[in-house]
């Protein structure tokens, strides 16, 4: 299935755009999405392991299945405050 992933901060900068379309297996998980992002944006390599992912507005674990049409975002380590 096709996932439209929102990107922020370093992820947006390295990808050169605020969203990216990625292909993951049907019933794929966050791990699959992370692999697809890493391949699509090689420049993320050093930081990719510390990027978390959100489905809707909640953090999701690596083994969480991604529902079809889910709103998914890549969350690099945060630095607000």
């Amino acid at each position: 299935m096709r996932i439209r992933l929102r990107l922020f901060a370093i992820a947006k900068e390295r990808a050169g755009r605020p969203t990216i379309e990625l292909e993951v297996p049907d019933h794929g998980t966050i791990s699959d999405l992370k692999r697809a992002l890493s391949e699509a944006v090689p420049g993320l390599d050093p930081v990719i392991d510390r990027i978390r992912f959100a489905i809707g507005t909640d953090y999701a674990d690596d083994d969480t299945p991604i529902p079809p049409n889910a709103d998914v975002a890549a969350i690099p380590p945060v630095s607000g405050g």
């Binding site: 929102r6 922020f8 901060a9 370093i10 900068e13 050093p46 930081v47 510390r50 959100a54 507005t57 909640d58 953090y59 975002a73 969350i75 690099p76 380590p77 945060v78 630095s79 607000g80 405050g81």
Partner: protein
């Protein structure tokens, strides 16, 4: 009350929102743009958020703090966009009957905000370079 805003934060207005005759204590925290980081000089900061999720996480922080401490009122306001030196990026204000809970809850909110709320800071250094800040990387 939680808020994300592009405008300068009126911290006194935030504090006024939490003051109450039920409270004996108010603790307020202001995050401000510091010029020096070690030997490096900052020119400005740029804050970006995943706004829907950041607003949701801030509301979760307020709710969780209210479940842990006897909070009368709490307010968390984070500014986004460009910040000049000395400007305020975040204000947390909490009122409680007694002072220990005010200090502890205000600090817990700030500490946890910096761990989980999807907001990012970009340093614009005085030498013209720019750098996203991603702790631990």
């Amino acid at each position: 009350m939680v808020e994300l805003t592009e405008s300068p934060i009126d911290y006194a207005a935030v504090v006024e929102r939490v003051r109450s005759p039920l409270a004996g204590a108010v603790c307020a925290f202001l995050g401000t743009v510091r010029e020096m980081t070690g030997e490096r000089r900052t020119s400005s900061l740029e804050y970006e958020a995943y706004p829907e999720m950041a607003a949701g996480k801030l509301a979760e922080l307020e709710a969780e703090a209210r479940s842990r401490w006897p909070i009368i009122e709490a307010a968390i306001v984070h500014r986004l966009g460009k910040h000049d030196l000395g400007e305020i990026s975040v204000v947390v204000a909490v009122s409680t009957p007694h002072r220990a809970a005010a200090f502890e809850s205000c600090r817990w909110i700030m500490d946890t905000l910096k761990e989980i709320v999807p907001i990012w800071k970009k340093e614009v250094w005085a030498d013209g370079t720019e750098e996203w800040v991603h702790p631990g990387t």
